[in-house]
């Protein structure tokens, strides 16, 4: 019965969220789009984190998706929708090539290399003047759906639903076992038959595709981008802070974190115009030091605390 009621809650919540445009104006919808973008990025970051690998390359792959989609339309005459699929595939391909090179060494080598990604892609786009428009960036002929805020909202929501779906699949399928085993103890995982490299590569490619997809949705929704805005470090910083605050290693956690911080960030931007991002840095530090399980983890622990009365007597404890 518990199983069914949570599915019902999800269905109702989804219906409400889909219906937002019916009673929200353009500004709240835009804020919602921003939150949903960060939420999707936070979830996709967490998906790889479940294997123990930390990527700092969200901004890199997100921006790559933006540029791929924009240039496919501009230089290749591609249909905007097709360009979004193309962008996701390209991001996946880049992740495959990169992952192939660096995932065998993993750990800090992987993490720091991903950190460099956004810089590298930014420099590449900046230098290829004729192809990518150089430092002034690119403008696509038309914003998708003619800029209708309802349609743009639903587009972004679709991207988010896809991300949530994939993350949920990762949790329910054998990916969950593989990634958790790799994270907890690689030697044990290996001895049980887990091909660690293959699963890490798969997770890295899939999450990069999701990030590229969101980047494509972004550029199609706004109509223009520059190297600095596409590869903005915020696209790495905020999703990290959101996932950590909400509670890593879950789908729910990053979602909760995104809603909380997303709303807070609107308020923060007004209060501290210069350097409000410091809040996110501090949140990251505080969460790692004092509540590594995030808010969801905290909630879970509180619930379990009230559960101990129901335990059988004689349960062995270490």
């Amino acid at each position: 019965m518990k199983f069914k009621s949570s599915y019902l809650a999800v269905a109702i919540l989804s219906a409400v969220v889909i219906a937002f445009p019916a009673f929200l104006g353009a500004y709240p919808l835009n804020v919602a789009r921003s939150i949903m973008t960060y939420m999707a990025l936070a979830i996709s970051w967490d998906m790889l984190l479940r294997s123990g690998q930390i990527s700092f390359g969200i901004a890199g792959l997100f921006g790559l998706g933006s540029y791929a989609s924009a240039l496919a339309v501009l230089r290749g005459g591609m249909d905007p929708f097709v360009s979004m699929i193309f962008a996701a595939l390209l991001a996946g391909l880049v992740a495959f090539a990169l992952g192939f090179a660096i995932l065998r060494l993993r750990g800090m080598y992987f993490s720091i290399t991903t950190l460099a990604l956004m810089e590298i892609f930014r420099i590449i786009m900046q230098n290829l003047h004729d192809f990518s428009g150089g430092p002034e960036g690119v403008v696509i002929p038309a914003v998708i759906f003619n800029g209708s805020s309802t349609a743009l909202y639903w587009l972004c929501l679709a991207g988010l639903f896809i991300t949530i779906g994939v993350s949920w699949y990762f949790e329910k399928s054998k990916m969950h076992l593989a990634l958790t085993a790799i994270r907890n103890d690689e030697t044990s995982a290996r001895s049980s038959g887990v091909d660690i490299f293959r699963y890490l590569l798969f997770a890295f490619v899939i999450t990069s595709m999701l990030q590229g997809m969101m980047g494509a949705i972004q550029i199609q929704s706004y109509g223009f981008t520059t190297p600095d805005t596409a590869f903005d470090a915020n696209f790495t910083l905020l999703p990290l802070a959101m996932a950590l605050l909400g509670g890593i290693h879950s789908t729910m956690g990053p979602m909760a974190g995104a809603v909380l911080l997303g709303i807070a960030s609107e308020w923060l931007k007004l209060k501290i115009p210069y350097g409000h991002l410091v809040v996110y840095g501090i949140i990251i530090i505080v969460v790692i030091l004092f509540m590594p399980q995030g808010l969801v983890g905290l909630a879970r622990r509180l619930m379990r605390g009230s559960d101990t009365k129901g335990r059988k007597a004689g349960a062995t404890h270490e």
């Binding site: 076992l177 907890n184 103890d185 290996r190 001895s191 049980s192 038959g193 660690i196 349960a315």
Partner: protein, 239 residues
């Protein structure tokens, strides 16, 4: 054909030779004891055979197939499994999930099938309440889970690395009986590393002795335990 054959297996760590030119074979259905003083290279030897370490030289064959440089996960799929001396349970997975992994990734079972297999294996070992966190297990239960984990691979060759350590005599007897039954029922070749000679005497049909990485004796326990070189290696004799 022997299940597992090593020929001149050697592992050197820049200067220190941990396993030195070890050649031996394991047959189906036999329980082989692997003994030797501390630091003799027994665990390193198991690492080499299971694929956690790659040899410096030598050859490993499983059912006639060369697996000398095959990665560990490939060997698991082929049918080699082992337990670890220092057990690291996967702390973010439940007990049943810890066991299921072998079935899912070595035998390509679906989650449902793997769960059923894992439950059956745990029942055989007497491991109960499988929905618990691994932090709630007793030492005996952790050992059982570790053995279950290895059995989930459905191996043809199994290595148990000091599984009895830390168990009392009742618990040890339990595990001995279980290992004998499993080896017989599943036609496995089992290699047992142990320091308690009583266990070796009761459990094994044949014993190999390692000292400083070299194979210094081979044969039934009764013979090997009287071998002067073996006695010297243990500095004062076996039990």
């Amino acid at each position: 054909m022997s299940k597992l054959v090593t020929t001149g297996l050697t592992k050197a760590f820049s200067g220190l030779v941990a396993v030195n030119n070890v050649s031996f074979a394991m047959e189906e259905g036999e329980i082989l004891g692997i003994i030797g003083p501390n630091g003799a290279g027994k665990t390193t030897f198991i690492h080499l055979v299971s694929g956690i370490l790659m040899p410096t030289s030598g050859r490993i064959e499983f059912k006639g197939k060369d697996i000398t440089y095959a990665p560990a996960h490939v060997r698991s799929r082929l049918g080699i499994a082992r337990t670890y001396q220092l057990i690291h349970p996967l702390e973010n997975l439940k007990v049943i999930e810890n066991v299921m992994i072998g079935s899912v990734f070595s035998r390509d079972k679906s989650l449902k099938e793997a769960r059923l297999s894992a439950e059956a294996i745990c029942a055989e070992l007497g491991l109960e309440r499988l929905g618990r966190d691994t932090t709630q297990l007793s030492i005996l239960e952790i050992k059982k889970m570790e053995i279950a984990r290895a059995l989930a691979n459905e191996p043809e060759v199994l290595f148990l690395d000091e599984v009895m350590a830390g168990l009392n005599s009742d618990e040890t007897r339990q595990i001995i009986a279980t290992v004998q039954r499993i080896a017989r029922e599943r036609h496995m070749a089992v290699g047992v590393v142990e320091h308690v000679m009583g266990v070796i005497r009761e459990l094994t049909q044949r014993v190999i002795v390692l000292e400083a990485g070299e194979l210094i004796a081979e044969g039934p326990y009764e013979t090997v335990s009287k071998n002067p070189r073996v006695i010297e290696a243990y500095l004062g004799g076996a039990a």
